[in-house]
């Protein structure tokens, strides 16, 4: 019974946390975009425009869910759900604090990768089932991009696993207990290239979420809206929220793997607040990156992965192995 209540509580809390984040990350994004371009951005609905997400949500829900005539109806309806559900599932293994984790088990890192990889499937299905050439082009782009960036991301994650010797996320964070020099991205004794590893992982997590400057999947100027061109109302809303969800996951995950989870950089008062501060800082950096750089070309995107990130990640992997053997 107690176990049952625990599960229910976690389900409710995680749904609330994720839901609130998905709604207000949009606000953060638009407000951040405004400030970076010296505009005020949202300000009409509520104080500082804080009620804008609710207004947007109401608008999206009141719209007709239109299915194109030639679309593959079941797949078309399934794609937004597939985008959304695995994203929430990944939060099952995210440790927010010591002991504050819904399901603490040994394969946490693998679970996140397994579920996050399903996002590509959603994009592919959405693009395919819409029966729209732009959506199809976008889907093929998104798949090639996700495959290209999944590799360096996994390789850098493996370096962390090699260094810590576990896939349990709580254990990984606990091994980084202490001040900032104990965090994985500065553990030069594990591998001299650990900061590079952190950078690669962060770049890949941005690319994996199909965010600008890597948003070739929904390049507005070329593909209208990419894979969700034909989606209206909440179908589009789910894709949008899934994108923000994967940003949140990516930032939580980066915090856990490289930035010491809930540990304070100066060694006192560790707790969930440090976890959230780091996560939201990373989210803000992603917004900052998005509104600074123009979209890369397809060529540039794949080149960056295959020419720079994958060799660097492979080299880093070998170097980490050597360091672990020698020291």
């Amino acid at each position: 019974m107690e176990e049952f209540l625990r599960i229910i509580t976690y389900i409710v809390c995680i749904s609330a946390f994720v839901g609130a984040n998905l709604a207000w990350l949009g606000w953060v994004e638009r407000k951040g975009a405004g400030r970076l371009q010296r505009r005020t951005a949202l300000k009409e609905v509520g104080p500082f425009g804080l009620l804008q997400p609710l207004a947007d949500g109401l608008k999206l829900m009141s719209k007709q869910l239109h299915v194109p005539r030639d679309a593959d109806r079941p797949l078309y309806m399934l794609a937004p759900v597939i985008a959304m559900v695995p994203m929430i599932m990944t939060f099952v293994v995210i440790p927010f604090n010591e002991g504050l984790v819904p399901r603490d088990f040994n394969m946490g890192l693998l679970v996140i990768f397994a579920f996050a990889a399903l996002s590509v499937l959603a994009l592919l299905l959405g693009g395919w089932a819409s029966r729209n050439k732009y959506a199809l082009i976008s889907a093929s782009r998104a798949v090639s991009q996700n495959i290209a960036y999944e590799i360096p991301m996994l390789l850098t994650a493996i370096t962390v696993v090699m260094a810590t010797g576990t896939m349990n996320l709580t254990e990984i964070v606990n091994q980084q207990a202490g001040t900032i020099i104990k965090w994985n991205f500065l553990r030069l004794d594990n591998s001299i290239l650990m900061p590079v590893s952190f950078l690669i992982f962060f770049v890949c997590s941005v690319a994996e979420t199909n965010r600008a400057p890597f948003d070739l999947g929904e390049a507005e100027s070329e593909l209208i809206a990419g894979f969700h061109t034909e989606y209206s109302g909440m179908g589009f809303g789910l894709f949008m929220m899934a994108e923000y969800g994967y940003i949140l996951i990516g930032c939580c995950f980066t915090t856990i793997l490289f930035l010491g989870g809930w540990h304070c950089p100066f060694g006192f008062y560790p707790g969930i607040h440090w976890f959230l501060i780091k996560t939201y800082f990373l989210i803000w950096v992603i917004v900052w990156i998005r509104w600074t750089f123009p979209r890369v070309t397809v060529w540039g995107l794949l080149n960056l992965s295959w020419m720079y990130l994958i060799p660097a990640a492979l080299f880093n992997l070998i170097l980490t192995g050597a360091f672990l053997k020698v020291f």
Binding site: R35, Q37, R38, R39, T40, W288, I289, W291, T292, F293
Partner: protein, 173 residues
Amino acid sequence: MSKYVNDLFIGGYSLLVGMAVTIINFFKPTVTLQYPHESLKMTPRYRGHVELIKDPETGTHRCIACGMCQKNCPSECITIKSKKIEGIKGKVLTEYRLDFTKCSLCGQCVENCKPNALQFSKEYNLASRRKEDFIFDLLKRLHPEGVPEPKPAEPKAESGDKKEKPVKEDNSS
């Protein structure tokens, strides 16, 4: 190989420069003009539709209803109506109708106004679905609070004096 390394470092450095530019602007004050709530003051050279000048001394317009603006208007968008009133020198303006739908803002009316009674307004917030909204009575626009100032002898005569004075001075000098 050296190009490869160069691309990596110069490219990375250029990314950092770009991010520095945006973060500096992030902390600068915003420049948005909250348009419906606040608006720019138009520059003196701005040409809105013409309007009658309110003479600060007499508190009314200086129009003598000579009709030069009406005659010189290439778009024929000005219609002046006036009447003669006993005891008042000259004609009294009763209606100054401007059809702004036809006006090309050439300024011939302002150029040709002898008593200097016309000027360009700073009005730029004109929007409507009905044509009639752009046909103004400039006399009513000058005196929105009521019918154009009553036409007793005093104000008109005063303005007439004003008109004569400079002429006299010119003669004496």
